[in-house]
Amino acid sequence: MQARATIPRERPSIGTRWNNFQRRYAPYIFISPFFILFLAFGLFPILFLAYLSFQEWQPSAGLGTMKFVGLRNYTDNLTDPAFWDALRHTFSLAVMSGVPQHLIAIPLAFAIHMGLRKLQGPLTAVYFVPYITSVVAISVTFFTLFSWQYGAINGLIQALHSLPLIGGLFPAERINWLGEKAFIQPAIALVVVWRFTGWNVVLYLAGLQSIPKDLYEAAAVDGATRAQQFRFITLPLLRPMMFLAITLTLIGNLQLFEEPFILTNGGGGPGQIGTTAVMYMLRTYQSYADAGLAAAMGWLLFVVIAVLTFVNNQVFGRSGLAGRE
């Protein structure tokens, strides 16, 4: 081996190096805000929640007091009748407030699309307003409308009851909308329907606009009525949009929180009929100070939503009806 004198390579100037550095790393720096935010507020909480769901922890006692308890939080939740009740009530509320939304929104969107072309802009805006209004304001307003002794709804029913002829159709007693088991879920569902129908109308209008006009024209030439056009052209071609809208409703309704929380004063109403899974989770964390149990509940709820979304996909999505031509 003989030492060979190596020709010293010229060191690139600071400027060149800076340029190279920029070219190589600048893109990462530019996209970093998203990733930093996602890591801090997206991924970390999810992983921390997963970790937490295997611990027994009272938040106010400090981080050092976590105790590993294995699967106990999960078994505790799955054997807790109140948790199953909350899930059951979440489902019935989800169905009660989910189905009418679409049954109203699809024909409404079709009517606007077909008949009220000129008014489409303003109408859409009007229907969209509930969706962008503060949920708290909405719920408080409805709370006062539903009030047993002082609400406008009962006032109206009372007034109708005192009318001749049709008065007999309306009850003489005031209905305790938010204080009786039979009425509380419909009352909550009504508020949710009122809030989200407009949102779905907007989705369906977008879907309708993507259906080529000449299909309708061809059908009209063949002598198809409006109803037939709706049944054989609109509905099949709206399917992808229905799948999207129903998926969003499903996920949103299983996480229902604000409306029932406010309409039942946070308490869940009589017999806890208005307590949804998310309300129960918050109560477990805040009032019962059992963070591990609440975390496990969050994951169980995630599993439930994932399974139902998958089923929805099988029935409605690409692999299901929407895939068929």
Partner: protein, 415 residues
């Protein structure tokens, strides 16, 4: 040259500031305690010119949530924190709050100066986690004009629970559209808090055994009483205090009685029942019951860097007689310090309550209320019991069924 000058100037300023050694402490409170602390500050500043106090005010729920987070993560808590009675037990676990029983605080030496039930509320396994500042001794508020219309004397309502319900029916009959009480559950809530045998808490005994059961007369009677109130259509079914329904019933003047803490008077005269000044009066609770509605405490988080100064402020706010009286004048916060209750002010009439000397009643109540043993699972037990009671009130369960079920459900949690 310029740089050196700047550095020199900065160094000079720093030494001057250091010589004064002024310390700033932060105080986290919720309304109306902010008004109390603000009123107290000028006097405190005169006494301790080297301590600056910065107020951090958040709404009730936000304040306690922020405090929970700060204790959980071990950073971000204020030097002095207000804690509402409903949260003391929750924050007592772990080492998040200083044990004020220990030196240098020696908080227990003040124990005899305070209303007797306050220190037990903040003492957990020998640790004193907070100092009491105001209390909510409870009484029955009643509408004297409603009673007159039914031809009743106030004593007809608080002789016994039976008398309360039976004469309550007369009041509602004589005053159409009125309700005896906002919610039937209030009757049971007071009942279960009275006549608790020694060594028992509200829902659990000392060995964590569940007391809510069908063979416990305290719960059985409470359940039956509430059911009687509901069945006689005496309550407005308004749920808890401050619910919209409760508020409207008050504002419209549809309530004949309400059980609440002394602090309710302030709400009534300011916004809740403005139009009915002079028509409301107070008397002790039915059947010789004494109960308290909340109360506030001050604590020092272990993470605080200015514990000595924080303690000075807490002492000033809680053990200084003049400050306790000032707080009462400012917001109606009833003093937890006994000496403050002897002020002449307490023998004066309350204008809103038709100049009744109501404060003497509250003082009596405060000194008759028995301490309750607090259990970590109380919020869960309360939730379960109230849910079951709700099923009794709407007629879907009997008291026997509901209490048996409540017992099973609470026992599940008490591991």
């Amino acid at each position: 040259m310029k740089k050196t000058l700047t550095a020199l100037t900065l160094a000079l300023i720093a030494t001057v500031a250091g010589a004064q050694a002024k310390k700033t402490i932060t105080v986290g409170v919720f309304p109306d305690l902010d008004s109390v602390v603000k009123a107290a500050l000028p006097g405190f500043q005169k006494k301790f010119p080297n301590i600056d106090v910065k107020l951090v005010v958040l709404q009730y729920a936000d304040h306690h949530n922020a405090l929970t987070t700060a204790l959980a993560t071990g950073s971000g808590a204020n030097d002095v924190v207000a804690v509402d009675f409903g949260y003391v037990a929750r924050f007592a676990e772990g080492g998040g709050l200083e044990d004020l029983a220990k030196a240098p605080y020696n908080g227990l030496s003040y124990k005899s100066r305070f209303v007797s039930y306050t220190f037990p509320q903040a003492t957990f396994s020998g640790k004193l986690v907070a100092m009491p500042t105001d209390i909510g001794p409870g009484t029955m508020y009643y509408r004297s004009d409603f009673l007159a219309k039914a031809g009743l004397k106030p004593g007809d309502l608080n002789k016994s629970w039976d008398a309360y319900i039976e004469n309550g029916k007369k009041i509602v009959a004589a005053n159409p559209g009125s309700f005896l009480i906002p919610d039937a559950t209030e009757v049971s809530e007071i009942y279960i808090r009275t006549n608790i045998p020694a060594g028992q808490g509200l829902y659990f005994d000392a060995s964590n055994k569940v007391l809510v059961s069908a063979d416990n007369p305290r719960f059985m009677n409470a359940c039956t009483l509430a059911k009687r109130v509901r069945d006689a259509k005496l309550d407005a079914r308004a749920g808890g205090a401050f619910s919209p329904e409760w508020t409207t019933a008050f504002q419209k003047g549809n309530l004949a009685t309400e059980f609440s803490g002394a602090w309710l008077t302030g709400h009534m005269q300011n916004w809740l029942a403005k139009d009915f000044s002079g028509k409301w009066n107070v008397q002790q609770l039915p059947s010789g019951a004494f109960a308290s509605w909340g109360g506030s405490f001050y604590a020092i988080p272990t993470q605080s860097k200015n514990k000595a100064e924080a303690w000075e402020l807490i002492k000033y706010l809680t053990t200084d007689k003049d400050q306790q009286i000032l707080a009462f004048k400012t917001t109606g916060a009833f003093p937890a310090l006994r000496a403050a209750q002897d002020a002449p002010l307490f023998n004066e009439g309350v204008a809103y309550l038709s100049n009744q000397k109501a404060r003497t009643l509250w003082r009596t109540a405060a000194n008759r209320i028995k301490p309750l043993d607090v259990n970590r699972l109380d919020p869960i037990a309360s939730e379960i019991w109230l849910t079951q009671l709700g099923s009794v009130l709407d007629g879907s369960k009997t008291c026997q069924q509901a209490l048996t079920e409540a017992n099973t459900l609470i026992a599940r949690r008490a591991r």
